[in-house]
């Protein structure tokens, strides 16, 4: 987990897009909550989100 975040920070630095980091943290947090049981179910196939 830590390695990925290190990579991600290095990636955003390289791409000069550090402003995306807070969004990542919020969304990953929400995502993790969802993994633990709030939302289940299949989603239809839409390219861009995959």
């Amino acid at each position: 987990m830590l390695e990925v975040f290190k990579d991600l920070i290095a990636y955003f630095k390289e791409r000069k897009k550090m402003w995306l980091l807070p969004i990542v943290l919020i969304l990953v947090f929400i995502g993790l909550i969802m993994i633990f049981g709030l939302v289940t179910g299949l989603t239809p196939f839409i390219y861009p989100f995959f």
Partner: protein, 604 residues
């Protein structure tokens, strides 16, 4: 770097490819083994096959390359989300668990899968990532027969890029221009696929097959084209496009389009899956096909201007649009056009591996001097051995007819085909890519008036409007279709020459589709679509088993032309091994199953 394993997975069309010293040793889509069409799982079975084929395990692999850059894709998802917030929040949150669980941690995930597959492996294998469109470009250029070429890749979306123009020379590929999400030819075509009631990402070829039923000169088709070009898409001279996002939903919802706006725009209700098709649906399919062709031709023109090359290589899902490929070839914009047979994401695994190889070995020239490509005819997967057949026969009490030489076998099968029997033909290694090229095929005579509906309804169990493709020897392709370019991978649609067409009745276009199919169009009724077009496959090698079969059929019928369709039923992956071959044979109206030199016949 000698041995490289390429992988595509987690989106659709999972596959593994092994290259050794820049040569393709093995390539396989996971669906062929796990039997789930377009499967997106990690391709464990395909990886195992590829490494076993070369007699190594993971320790023998120098690098594993994934065909896509997950962080770059994640960046696109985030920026897209940010640009549309608060719209799209619920859709985005549905996908977050998968990203926060797996896709964001792809490096770890891939290592875990490989370790699970090879628990005794000693070394930590080097893991690399290639960008999506570089993978496509590499899959198009490196295996092509050309030493230098323009490269055009077009698909729905990779990371940011949805299309790219590049130039390949020797070991180098330069990507010169890119078109970015949300503007995408693939997404545009898929939106129409969705509106016309077919499944996104698998129904596009049905839309393409429907388009010839459209009437080109009708007021409605012309209106549809005009509407698409004025309301939905802005076409620029260089082939780039801008989609009017007020009509699309894919950026922020779980649907492709704003349905009610489209219904108003085309004055047509959205078609639900399975609903009957009518002339308006066909006209709309033709309209989007025509617009797509116009875009592709403009992109190709730009590629020509940028590179000055006489050769063009194509890949990406849109490169499977063989009607557009045929038009591109006939435009003579490029003297030579080569399309990667696995143009979709499975081919990305091949491109990713080849891209890494050429970065590390830039001085090696691998192109054969005889003008052939490096794809081995696309035959890169597992084969069924005679020993396996014998074991299967012993287990199931089967007594096949066994021929000792190919000539006798082909005479026998040709006679059965000429008697209008439908034959399943399994021969050698399975194809890599979506098309059956004669290794896992269903073959039939092209002459019978009812062969198309018989194949659609009693063998393939699919929609009756769908066409079938011919396989033929080189001289037939030249005689009947004027095709003299190598078309061995079934990627180009051409029309039968006017002198071989039959005159159509005046009310032809007023007939319902099933009645139109019954009108004689050419002597090859089963492979001539309603607009006289055919997706040609040319067999260049007369001495191959398939070449011999075509020659024997010619000696009976006068033409070395057969129907060739994939050996499967609707919705299933192409047959790979014995179990599914017999399952498909026994549960359809197939008369004969040929596996290598063994023949199994159904009792009348």
């Amino acid at each position: 770097m000698k041995v490289i394993l390429g992988i595509s997975a987690y989106y659709h069309d999972s596959a593994a490819v092994l290259i050794v010293d820049g040569q393709i040793v093995a390539a396989l889509q996971e669906e062929r083994l796990n039997r789930i069409k377009n499967t997106s799982v990690f391709p464990s079975l395909a990886v195992k096959f590829c490494l076993t084929e070369y007699g190594i395990d993971l320790d023998g692999v120098d690098a594993v390359v994934f065909y896509d850059k997950p962080f770059l894709k994640f960046e696109r998802l985030l920026e897209n989300f940010y640009a549309n917030v608060p719209k799209g929040l619920s859709a985005f949150l549905k996908f977050m668990p998968e990203w926060s669980q797996k896709k964001l941690f792809l490096k770890k995930e891939l290592k875990r899968e490989l370790a699970e597959l090879y628990p005794d492996s000693n070394q930590a294998v080097q893991l690399l990532f290639s960008s999506h469109h570089l993978s496509h470009a590499a899959s198009a250029f490196y295996p092509s027969p050309y030493n230098e070429a323009a490269i055009l890749t077009i698909d729905a979306v990779g990371e940011w890029a949805t299309a790219s123009i590049g130039y390949g020379k020797g070991a180098e590929i330069d990507l010169l221009q890119e078109m970015h999400f949300p503007d995408s030819v693939g997404l545009l075509y898929s939106s129409f696929t969705y509106f016309l009631g077919f499944k996104v990402n698998s129904g596009e070829y049905k839309l393409m097959g429907l388009s010839p039923y459209g009437i080109k000169d009708s007021v409605q088709t012309k209106q549809f084209v005009e509407t698409i070009k004025t309301k939905l898409v802005k076409l620029f001279e260089d082939g780039s496009i801008q989609l009017n996002q007020t009509y699309f939903k894919y950026r922020h919802a779980l649907r492709m389009i704003k349905e009610s706006k489209w219904e108003k725009l085309f004055e047509l209700p959205i078609r639900k899956e399975g609903e009957e098709l009518n002339q308006s649906h066909a006209n709309l399919a033709l309209a989007i096909q025509m617009v797509t062709e116009e875009i592709i031709l403009k992109m190709a023109k730009t590629a020509k201007e940028l590179t000055g090359s006489d050769n063009l290589c194509l890949a990406g899902g849109v490169a499977l649009n063989c009607v557009a490929n045929g038009k591109l070839k006939e435009s003579n914009l490029f003297a030579n056009v080569w399309v990667q047979p696995a143009a979709g994401d499975a081919g990305g695994a091949l491109g990713a591996a080849l891209a890494v190889y050429h970065v590390h070995s830039p001085s090696k020239c691998l192109k054969p001097q005889n003008g052939e490509d490096l794809m081995h005819g696309g035959l890169l997967g597992p084969e069924i051995t005679d020993k396996e057949i014998e074991q299967y026969c012993n287990q199931h009490g089967l007594k096949p007819l066994v021929f000792q030489n190919d000539s006798d076998l082909c005479v026998y099968v040709a006679e059965q085909l000429y008697a209008n029997k439908i034959v399943a033909w399994v021969n050698g290694k399975i194809e890599f890519g979506p098309r059956a090229l004669g290794a896992r095929s269903i073959l039939a005579s092209p002459y019978a008036m009812d062969m198309q509906s018989k194949l659609n309804l009693a063998v393939k169990f699919r929609e009756d409007f769908r066409p079938f493709a011919p396989i033929m020897l080189k001289e037939e392709a030249a005689t009947y279709f004027g095709v003299e370019h190598p078309a061995q991978y079934m990627q180009f649609v051409h029309k039968i020459k006017p002198e071989f067409r039959k005159e159509l009745p005046a009310n032809y276009n007023d007939l319902i589709f099933s009645d139109r199919l019954k009108i004689p169009r050419s002597k090859f009724q089963a492979i001539t679509h309603v607009d006289f077009s055919s997706r040609i496959q040319v067999v260049d090698n007369d001495s191959s088993r398939l070449g011999q079969l075509l020659s024997k059929f010619k000696s009976l019928s006068g033409d070395a032309v057969l129907v060739n369709t994939s050996f499967n039923r609707n919705g299933e992956p192409i047959v790979c091994g014995l179990k599914e071959a017999f399952d498909c044979f026994e549960n359809t109206d197939l008369s004969i199953l040929v596996i290598n030199n063994h023949i199994f016949e159904k009792k009348e």
